[in-house]
């Protein structure tokens, strides 16, 4: 038999990011099986070599050196999340490897590495593009909102998203009446929501992680937060378990997303992939539907695989060249990378929760609960505004 092609990476299987990391791993294994069923790459079977980084950046350099020096992998892809992607960069750069990356926000702004390719559809100016839609939607409404409150968790992604939001708000001429951050380990969010309410903002932008997203939504409901648009950068509202628990409290929230089962987003292969994912995810304690990250985890390997097949080589120079100029067809739609390795055009969706029923998981499997409002190209419905008055 042929020597397998080894693809190496580090992944968070324990620790803070493990929820997403394990989902990603399932998706990547589905891709491996799909490819191997079709005869592998360049006629060679594909093998994944990975280690758990325990969501600890300190582990990452060691893992990638091991992958390269001991396991002698042919290709590498990144771990999940900015904090765990960045520590691998110097090692990858020194070896001049192609580095498909999974959800790192603006990592390449620091490194300017021309073989870095980011699968997250945040766009050429990731931090700003992220919330562009949220504010664009707001400014279309009548009467025009005038004030905004920005609140974010003290952690990498949320702060970057909030920084982008600040820029967008300024560009839109909104007055920022509240702009604070909170530690992710906060237990009770009602005091924060009350302080926000005291400034009476038209819009509330929230940059948050799963536990605080839940806390914020619950507190907003309990306090009866009166605002016209609420959401924007809340991680966690994309996950089925949290959606089920929050239920009707979600209605009206406008939040970013990357893929939802709306008719406008039926890319080729995504349904089949999700069906396999649902099967594989059973009993693994990960998101049962996997709408958010897994398709992208599948896609970044798809891109790599397609590049290998197209160039018929494992030469990183050739691969990089191909990846820069080609538009790829993946389960997350057409992917084209820009100069800095980000998507050439942003496709951060803004979706609104609609008509959510209590205590029902299945409702989120299909369309109608998360309406795509932005970008226009993928729009599946109209905004309900204001959120709560």
């Amino acid at each position: 038999a042929q020597q397998p092609i080894k693809i190496g990476f580090s992944m968070a299987l324990t620790g803070g990011l493990a929820g997403a990391g394990k989902g990603a791993l399932i998706a990547m294994e589905i891709w491996r099986d799909d490819v191997n069923k079709k005869g592998g790459l360049l006629g060679r079977p594909v093998q994944l070599v990975y280690y758990d980084d325990a969501t600890q950046p300190a582990n990452v350099p060691g893992i990638y050196t091991k992958l390269l020096e001991v396991d002698k992998v042919d290709l590498v892809v990144s771990a999940y999340g900015t904090n765990l992607i960045a520590p691998a960069m110097p090692i990858i750069m020194r070896k001049k490897l192609v580095f498909p990356s999974l959800f790192g926000l603006g990592v390449n702004e620091e490194f300017n590495y021309d073989r870095y390719f980011q699968i997250m559809p945040s766009g050429p100016d990731p931090k700003v593009d992220w919330t562009r839609g949220f504010f664009a939607l707001a400014m279309e409404q009548n009467p025009k909102p005038r004030t905004v409150a920005i609140v974010a968790a003290d952690a990498e992604f949320a702060l970057n998203a909030a920084a982008g939001a600040r820029k967008n708000a300024q560009n839109a001429g909104l007055k920022i009446v509240y702009d604070k951050t909170y530690p992710p380990a906060t237990t009770d969010y009602t005091p924060i929501v009350r302080a926000i309410q005291a400034t009476n903002p038209d819009i509330v932008f929230v940059g948050s992680y799963p536990p605080d997203s839940v806390g914020m939504v619950k507190a907003a409901n309990e306090v009866g937060l009166k605002t016209k648009l609420f959401g924007g950068g809340m991680v966690g509202l994309q996950f089925a378990a949290i959606q089920k628990n929050l239920g009707p409290m979600l209605n009206g929230i406008v939040n970013y997303d990357f893929w939802v089962p709306e008719p406008t987003l039926k890319f080729s292969g995504v349904e089949e992939f999700l069906a396999k994912y649902r099967e594989a995810a059973k009993g693994k304690g990960v998101d049962p539907y996997g709408h958010y990250l897994p398709p992208y985890a599948y896609a970044y390997l798809q891109v790599l695989g397609q590049a290998v097949e197209a160039t018929k080589s494992l030469d990183h120079g050739k691969l990089a060249e191909h990846m820069h100029k080609t538009e790829y067809d993946t389960v997350v739609g057409k992917v084209k990378f820009g100069k800095n390795g980000e998507w050439a055009r942003s496709r951060v969706l803004q979706v609104q929760f609609r008509d959510v029923q209590p205590d029902n998981l299945e409702q989120f499997a299909g369309p109608g609960k998360r309406i795509v409002l932005y970008p226009k190209e993928w729009k599946s419905g109209d905004i309900v505004y204001p959120y709560k008055q």
Partner: protein, 315 residues
């Protein structure tokens, strides 16, 4: 001429072996793995100076480590100082914080002191989280320079640097252990009032030991940004750093300078081996089981176990 002690001979051998290692071994993986073990070793040795010799438990080790790392980040960004100077600066600043912690011992004993150090760590973490110059909660990127002296790679240089720092730390700890100062510290650990009344300047000694501990931990943290290239408060104020700093001396034995060294080498290398060989959540499980087993089988640490064995044989 006085005889050269076996300790210094072995120290020289270790350093020479380290140098030879960088020459012979091509596989960069070993350098990163050993770097982490040595980092743990310095932290453990430092913790033990206060925790083992003096009897004051520091729960805030991660804060010293992180402040060391952030000192390096800030000064690298502001002045672009070379690494050795950054290390010296980190030692100075963390030494000062250690001195401050030392003053806590004036009134706070036992667990009250331990919790105060924990509180101090959280306060410091909040400050760094809110200090945007070094990236705040967003974290800071450090681009490692291309220069690495005569070494083949930057990680080889970091490895050698860490080895030197580790040997120096162990030497300091050993010196403390067997000196008049060390006996003074032991007296403090046993009974502070009795020590004072026997003429031991307890405050001064405690200040010396907290300062050395702080400085040493800062030294362990200073090269870290160059090792990972991206640091955020969450990963710098890391629970694992604090756990290892405590667990390694406990497992090795706290009363003797060699204890933390043995503990760090044992636990550290086990962790590295498990990390890359058992690639799943099981690795943390194994680390957990290992901690429980080691410490249950040898509650006085490995040194304690060996001593007991010898005592039995002698008797």
């Amino acid at each position: 001429m006085s005889k050269i002690s076996p300790f210094w001979v072995s120290a020289a051998v270790v350093l020479a072996a380290g140098l030879a290692f960088t020459e012979i071994v091509e596989n960069q993986y070993y350098f990163t793995a050993i770097y982490l073990i040595l980092q743990g070793l310095i932290m453990a040795v430092a913790w033990n100076i206060l925790g083992g010799f003096t009897g004051y438990v520091n729960f805030g080790s991660a804060a010293f480590f992180a402040v060391g790392a952030y000192t390096a980040i800030a000064l690298d960004k502001a002045l672009g100082l070379p690494l050795p100077l950054l290390i010296v600066a980190a030692a100075a600043i963390c030494g000062l914080i250690g001195l401050g912690v030392g003053y806590l011992t004036l009134r706070l004993k036992g667990v009250y002191f331990a919790i105060a150090t924990l509180a101090m760590a959280i306060v410091l973490e909040t400050f760094i989280t809110n200090w945007s110059y070094v990236g705040g909660a967003r974290g800071a990127y450090i681009l490692t320079p291309d220069k690495h002296l005569w070494f083949d790679s930057y990680s080889e240089m970091l490895f050698m640097l860490m080895l030197v720092l580790a040997v120096v730390s162990v030497a300091i700890s050993r010196k403390l252990n067997f000196s008049r100062l060390g006996r003074g510290l032991a007296a403090i650990r046993d009974d502070e009032v009795a020590a004072e009344c026997a003429g031991v300047p307890t405050l001064r000694l405690k200040l010396v030991s907290t300062t050395i501990m702080g400085a040493m931990m800062g030294v362990a943290g200073a090269p870290y940004p160059f090792f990972v290239t991206y640091v955020d408060p969450l990963s710098a104020f890391n629970l694992f750093v604090a756990v290892n700093a405590i667990a390694m001396p406990m497992i090795g034995g706290t009363a003797h300078w060699i204890g933390p060294v043995i503990g760090a080498l044992l636990v550290g290398s086990m962790q590295e081996i498990v990390k890359v060989n058992i690639s799943s959540e099981l690795n943390i499980l194994i680390v957990g089981v290992m901690l429980v087993l080691f410490i249950s089988l040898a509650p006085q640490g490995i040194v304690g176990l060996v001593q007991k064995h010898f005592l039995k044989r002698k008797a």
